[in-house]
């Protein structure tokens, strides 16, 4: 598969995301924020960082970058899109996912190995995991508190759209401990922790993040089976 990784001004984790894509056996394609062109990719990753310096609100300016017009259209056609950390913020600002991410309730940046539970393994980015799998990957954010109104939270939980939840102490004040969510179709996933930093034993906290990048290969078959 060809997996595009978007670089915005201020993106930090695009190179790690590209590496994770290659380790999972895909071709990584660099995409540039100012180009309204997805270069024929089969899936897109919006990586972490501080795009546009987090000016205005995290992800607020990136949402209007030329490449995002294409990403939003492709997501609507069912293309797998994964937003990690700042990418998750961009997906919320783009209204591809509901809710928003606000400053951590304890006001400090958090950087730690974070245990999670995979609560939905029927998405484009989590189908390589067992339902209920417990994984540990890096969490590093200043504005990672997921918020939405009660009705939206109830709908996300009722429809099984909470993809991952924090285990143990809530690290950033996210409502109901939500670490990641998906859209109705399961092709768009936003995740606050960083699976791309946990894909090889050489560095980091293990390889628990690799499944996100393996999953996208299995999505076409899974989506077809679900629709059929």
């Amino acid at each position: 598969m060809k997996v595009g990784v978007v670089t915005f001004p201020g993106t930090l984790d695009d190179v790690d995301a590209q590496r994770a894509v290659r380790i999972a056996g895909h071709e990584a394609v660099a995409l540039w924020h100012a180009d309204a062109d997805l270069r024929g990719v089969d899936a897109v990753i919006l990586p972490g960082g501080f795009s546009y310096g987090d000016y205005l609100r995290c992800g607020a300016i990136s949402r209007f970058a030329p490449v995002m017009t294409e990403v939003i259209a492709a997501a609507g056609r069912g293309m797998p899109v994964l937003g990690i950390c700042n990418g998750f913020q961009i997906l919320c600002e783009s209204h591809l996912l509901p809710g928003a991410l606000v400053r951590n309730d304890h006001q400090k940046f958090v950087c730690r190995d974070q245990p999670l539970v995979i609560e939905n393994n029927r998405t484009a980015w989590t189908n390589a995991y067992a339902q209920g799998a417990e994984i540990t990957i890096v969490l590093k954010n200043g504005e990672g508190g997921f918020v939405a109104d009660t009705e939206t939270l109830d709908r996300l939980e009722g429809e099984g759209r909470v993809v991952a939840r924090y285990l143990g102490t809530n690290p950033n004040g996210s409502l109901r401990g939500i670490a990641g969510i998906t859209n109705e179709a399961g092709n768009v996933v936003g995740l606050m922790p960083h699976p791309e930093h946990a894909v090889e034993d050489l560095t980091g906290s293990g390889t628990d993040g690799r499944g996100f990048f393996d999953s996208v290969a299995g999505w076409a078959a899974l989506a077809a089976a679900t629709l059929g």
């Binding site: 609100r57 509901p98 606000v102 304890h106």
Partner: protein, 85 residues
């Protein structure tokens, strides 16, 4: 140049949204010897200078700007007003 009217957009976190920055400011005030403040909410103020008259059409445009870019309606409320300088 002194009489150019400004369109001001105030953006505030919704009351039900936790505002850690406001809380940090609230916590700092007593340490500086200021007492009696019971709550602080921190928001943003945008001052827009527009070419020509501030017509109803211009204000309608500003409302659209506020809804699409200046604020995130999921977590923030906004208010638009004209300030004569």
């Amino acid at each position: 140049m002194g009489d150019v009217p400004k369109v001001v957009v105030d953006v505030m976190p919704k009351p039900e949204i936790l505002d850690p920055q406001g809380k940090a400011v609230l916590g700092a005030l007593p340490r500086l010897g200021f007492s009696g403040v019971t709550d602080v909410r921190q928001g943003k103020r945008f001052e827009l200078e527009v070419a020509g008259e501030v017509t109803e059409e211009v204000l309608a445009d500003v409302h659209r700007m506020a809804e699409t870019l200046l604020s995130n309606p999921v977590i923030e409320n906004y208010a638009v007003r004209v300030e004569e300088s």
